[in-house]
């Protein structure tokens, strides 16, 4: 059974065009990316402050892409 865990996240952090949110697994000591960990699902709830015409942003697997070091 997966461990249910909670991690603090910076509040009121506004991200704009071209900024990147990377979901990853890191080494506790070095901070380096850890291989062998798979993400089976990722869900991100965001408040759209500008753009998208006030509508919801597109969603889907294509929104998340393998990042550097994958």
């Amino acid at each position: 059974m997966a461990q249910p865990l909670t991690v603090a996240f910076p509040p009121n952090l506004v991200l704009t065009d071209g900024w990147l949110v990377t979901i990853t697994a890191i080494d506790p000591v070095t901070g380096a990316l850890v291989s062998g960990v798979t993400i089976s699902e990722a869900l991100m709830q965001v408040e759209v402050l500008e753009g998208a015409g006030g509508y919801a942003l597109s969603s889907g697997a294509f929104m998340f892409v393998p990042g550097p070091g994958a």
Partner: protein, 245 residues
């Protein structure tokens, strides 16, 4: 403005990234990730990194207290404004620290003699050794090995009759922070159920060290046979449960 929920389902290796699309500004409310550990060689931390449009790493959300053991899966939620609760290891004791002792075979109490209860059985819960040491089993007295508040309930079953009797928790070298003496319950007639129950919270100081001796007395003029039981529960030090009279 509207909220959006961005979902990616699949089985891609970490890391996965989301790029904020053109002419858009967003504020993240929460992120939930299901991790599957297929072959990580060591423990790891779930993490979210924020990378600026100039490709500089602006921050990493990870928590050393949220470490996943190699080979384990994890469902992880990232929330703004939360603070990870202090782990139990930062407290002097586990909350469930417990030691239970009992006298199941009858013990003869000579009239007019204050007698320590001789326990013949015991049970414990994790962390009980933090109260009185790992070798405390049927000990009487018990001796504090760390500063502690301990909640105690002592029950003594007496033969029914009207005679003077008491049960007592004799406290040796009590902590100056919560001096309550030695709690005692006394009856001169047969109590309800022919039993005396005494509860107390006692603060212990390992430097003295503080001891607790459950003992009984009866003045009926003849020997009396008792059975008894006691439970010790420790609570985290620094939580003052008791105001000294």
């Amino acid at each position: 403005m509207a909220d959006s929920a961005l979902l990616a389902a699949g089985g891609d290796d970490a890391p996965l990234s989301y790029v904020v699309p053109g002419a858009t500004a967003i504020r993240i409310k929460q992120i939930h990730v299901k991790y599957v550990d297929n072959s990580a060689g060591a423990d790891w931390l779930p993490a979210v990194r924020i990378i600026s449009d100039s490709k500089h790493r602006m921050g990493t959300a990870a928590d050393q207290a949220v470490k996943v053991t190699a080979g384990s899966d994890a469902d992880v939620s990232f929330f703004p404004g939360v603070k990870h609760a202090a782990g139990a290891a930062t407290l002097p004791y586990l909350n469930q620290s417990q030691l239970a002792q009992s006298r199941q075979a009858v013990q003869t109490i000579t009239s007019g003699v204050v007698t320590n209860i001789a326990w013949d059985a015991w049970q414990s819960a994790p962390g009980y050794g933090d109260m009185f040491g790992p070798t405390a089993t049927t000990d009487n007295p018990v001796t504090f090995v760390k500063a502690a508040y301990v909640v105690i309930t002592l029950t003594v079953v007496w033969p029914a009759a009207n005679y003077d009797r008491y049960a007592e928790l004799a406290v040796g070298a009590p902590s100056s922070q919560s001096q309550i003496g030695s709690p005692r319950i006394r009856h001169s007639v047969s109590p309800d159920g022919d039993r005396q129950t005494l509860s107390a919270v006692i603060a212990g100081d390992p430097s003295n060290p503080t001891t607790i001796t459950p003992r009984v007395f009866q003045g009926s003029g003849v020997n009396r046979a008792i059975t008894a039981g006691i439970n010790y529960y420790s609570i985290p030090y620094g939580v003052a449960p008791f105001v000294s009279p």
